[in-house]
Symmetry: C2
Subunit: 193 residues, 2 copies
């Protein structure tokens, strides 16, 4: 059994501003308050090295254990998914979401039922593997007032943008999405690194 | 549906040192590295107001949504449990624990099966309600290197200390506890406030 990475190495910070290897192509408000546009984005492993430096905004989150994925689903995901950083995957999306108080007040079995039995969140995602690679970051339990509960980072090749849009449309039409009260969709193009 | 408290108000800090309304009665190492003894403990809602002030140690964690409790279990818990701060509950225990990498690598259904079907964690806890009141704090996803994954705070009347010890013995004998690689048991007596 491999060891668990330390929380410091599970923390990622997304900094929008005037520099970074990703060029912002579009900032699309989906529901709730929008987010400021910025020309560039950097993805930092760990906390910001220069928190005082100007940034339009920064968002942080930590990778964690699965909250809903069951054993057989995990095996299938691990078998089909590919990692971040593939040379052909020059497009990315950062999608921060927040779920409402009604979601967080539900018991575990109620949340799992909405997530998978009703919304097919895992099954829908599986249909887009390995084209779309993703990493989920949790913000809700960072202990500070964060504007979102989750940040999901997606990477795909330019020709897969239509299927990525199809994936998002399927999730946004699901019962789970009734509990989402803020979502923004930030599209990026890798221009360095 | 009530609104969700903000993360700032869900964060609690336990500061051991020379002051605080709780007097440390015993610091019992259970498994793994022990923790330094200190005469007093303060429980702070939020972050430490004076992080530079001397403390023997401080531990922080945030309350969060349930990870394993299902709908019917939650209803029973809510019906039977009492809150913290009862005048008769002048004894407390702070029990920080850490689970190992094998635990965190398990899928949700595997962790739930160990937690309840095999270990009866919820059912055991229910037997000691309302005598023992508790609040669970999560540390693992704070985004920093925390020494424990969970901090549980228990309060009970002096005459219930034997049943509290029985509760801990039952949990420590369960399959879930094979995944715990660090645990300390700090017993306290309320001497102020």
């Amino acid at each position: 059994m491999s060891s668990t990475p330390s929380p410091a190495s599970r923390l990622f910070t997304f900094v929008a501003g005037s520099s970074g290897p990703w060029t912002v192509d579009a900032v699309l408000p989906v529901v709730g308050d929008p987010i400021a546009a910025a020309p560039k984005l950097a993805v930092i492993a760990g906390p910001r090295a220069d928190p005082d430096r100007d940034a339009t905004w920064s968002l942080r989150g930590t990778t964690s254990n699965e909250r809903y994925v069951e054993h057989d689903e995990k095996s299938t995901l691990v078998e089909k998914q590919e990692g971040l950083g593939r040379p052909a995957a020059s497009r990315a999306a950062l999608i921060p979401i927040r779920k409402n108080a009604a979601w967080w007040a539900l018991a575990q079995d109620e949340r799992r039922a909405i997530f998978e039995a009703q919304s097919h969140h895992i099954a829908i995602g599986l249909r887009y593997l390995p084209a779309v690679a993703r990493r989920l970051h949790h913000c809700r339990d960072l202990g500070s007032d964060e504007p979102f509960d989750f940040l999901t980072w997606f990477e795909y090749a330019p020709e897969h943008e239509p299927v990525f849009d199809e994936l998002l449309a399927a999730l946004r039409a699901s019962p789970e999405w009734r509990y989402i009260d803020r979502e923004v969709d930030i599209r990026l193009v890798r221009t360095e690194g």
